[in-house]
């Protein structure tokens, strides 16, 4: 009976991935394929990662908390903590969205390259999964304890995002320009 489970799983996964392919196609038929504009957006997206991560330092800055603790009343402190917690959670969600977008672009662009390396692709996947787990952990931690105790985990998230930036840069260097240009052309026979 134990031998039956992997085979049944195999059959079920084929059906699921077949359905996913159909869903992907219906999305792609409305959305544009990778174009030169998307490429510019990738550049802007990387810039925004830099800008946002710089802003984060302020959200998690202990100096602000120390200042409020010394100068503010209890209500002000509570309000300050609530606001910082909201901002921190919002930032984590934005970072997750940004990295997911980067990953999506990376994969689309990877299909245009002459030689995607299985090793680096595997490494990237592992790192992406780690990032998802870590960032979800950060969200839970922020929600439970507030932003100031979450600094260590945030430091890891920043490092992971930094890794994605460098991987993405390497990917861009390997793009086949002819293939990327052709993606903008309308579909024809």
């Amino acid at each position: 009976m134990t031998g039956l489970i992997p085979i049944l799983l195999l059959g079920a996964l084929i059906l699921i991935l077949g359905g996913r392919l159909l869903a992907q196609w219906s999305r792609q038929s409305h959305a544009q394929v990778v174009t030169i504009e998307d490429y510019s957006q990738a550049c802007a997206a990387l810039d925004s990662v830099f800008v946002e991560t710089a802003a984060i330092k302020r959200i998690f800055a202990n100096e602000d908390m120390e200042f409020i603790s010394q100068a503010g009343t209890g209500d002000v402190q509570r309000f300050f903590l609530k606001e910082r917690k909201r901002l921190a959670i919002q930032w984590v969600r934005m970072t997750q969205k940004q990295v997911a977008h980067l990953m999506d672009l990376h994969l689309k662009l990877a299909s245009y390259t002459y030689e995607p390396s299985p090793r680096s692709e595997g490494r990237l996947t592992v790192n992406h999964v780690c990032f998802i787990l870590a960032s979800n952990g950060v969200s839970v931690f922020l929600w439970l304890f507030g932003p100031f105790k979450a600094v260590r985990i945030v430091a890891y998230t920043v490092r992971a995002a930094e890794y994605f930036c460098s991987e993405f840069r390497l990917r861009l260097e390997k793009i086949d320009p002819v293939k990327l240009g052709s993606a903008r052309q309308p579909r024809s026979l």
Binding site: I7, L15, L17, E162, C165
Partner: protein
């Protein structure tokens, strides 16, 4: 009566798929796929003749012809692979390596299971071989579907219908054959009965999606856009080269 109806319906749909393939000039484009459909059609007709004129020979003929059908269906795997990745040589190379690994693992698993099962009779051994070949095919298809999804490979309507229909057929057949190999499983009987209907659904999907030739995403010659792209790529490369260091310097606590 209902069995005959399904039988004739599937033969009729196979005829329509082949006819439309010829009329819509898809036969040349998807030659391996149409060769598979033609092979299945021929086997269906031979099975019908065997069932009518030599019923005693039918069970043995069924399992032998089933094995041929499964072997022939590997042509569809090659067709999907070749058509889907013809504009993505990098992903095709990656897929080749991955498929080879999966093929070796799945084949080793199937061979060891087949040898452990022992040899009872020729029809039984043929049925087992067919089952394991289907498992291997399922594993290959799974890897291909995963790669298509992962790298967001663009599909034309024809190829999409071909792939989705084939996935439905193989996915359910793999589950059915697995359950069939465990005697006394009541769910297997239900699934076995529903399988011909699944095949009819698959043929209907193929019939609808391959009714006429639909445009595919194609590669075009270099244009002004490419030159713009190269400018932009050079610009962004220079930009990205310093970005990680800048990010790291600013953000490390």
């Amino acid at each position: 009566m209902s069995t005959n109806l399904i039988w004739w319906s599937s033969v009729a749909l196979e005829t329509v798929v082949l006819f439309r393939g010829l009329r819509a000039e898809l036969l040349k484009k998807y030659l391996l796929f149409y060769a598979y459909v033609g092979c299945v059609f021929l086997i269906e007709v031979l099975r019908f003749c065997s069932y009518t004129f030599t019923p005693n020979f039918y069970p043995a003929f069924y399992w032998h012809s089933e094995l041929i059908t499964i072997v022939a269906s590997y042509a569809v795997i090659f067709e999907i692979f070749g058509q889907a990745l013809r504009h993505n040589p990098g992903v095709a190379r990656l897929a080749q390596k991955l498929l080879l690994v999966v093929f070796v693992i799945a084949l080793s698993y199937a061979a060891s299971d087949l040898l452990h099962g022992g040899f009872t009779s020729v029809p039984r051994a043929t049925a087992d071989l067919g089952r394991y070949l289907r498992y291997v095919e399922g594993a290959l298809l799974l890897v291909m579907l995963w790669l298509f999804g992962r790298y967001r490979i663009s599909f034309g309507r024809n190829l999409l219908g071909l792939t989705v229909g084939y996935s439905l057929l193989v996915g359910l057949d793999v589950m059915n054959l697995a359950l069939l190999s465990f005697p006394g499983n009541e769910f297997s009987i239900g699934l076995r009965k529903s399988l011909p209907i699944t095949y009819l659904i698959t043929l209907s999907i193929w019939c609808a999606s391959l009714w006429s030739c639909q445009p595919d995403p194609v590669q075009s010659a270099e244009s002004a856009i490419d030159r713009d792209y190269e400018h932009l790529a050079a610009k962004t490369r220079a930009n990205f080269a310093h970005l990680p260091a800048r990010v790291g310097r600013k953000l490390r606590p």
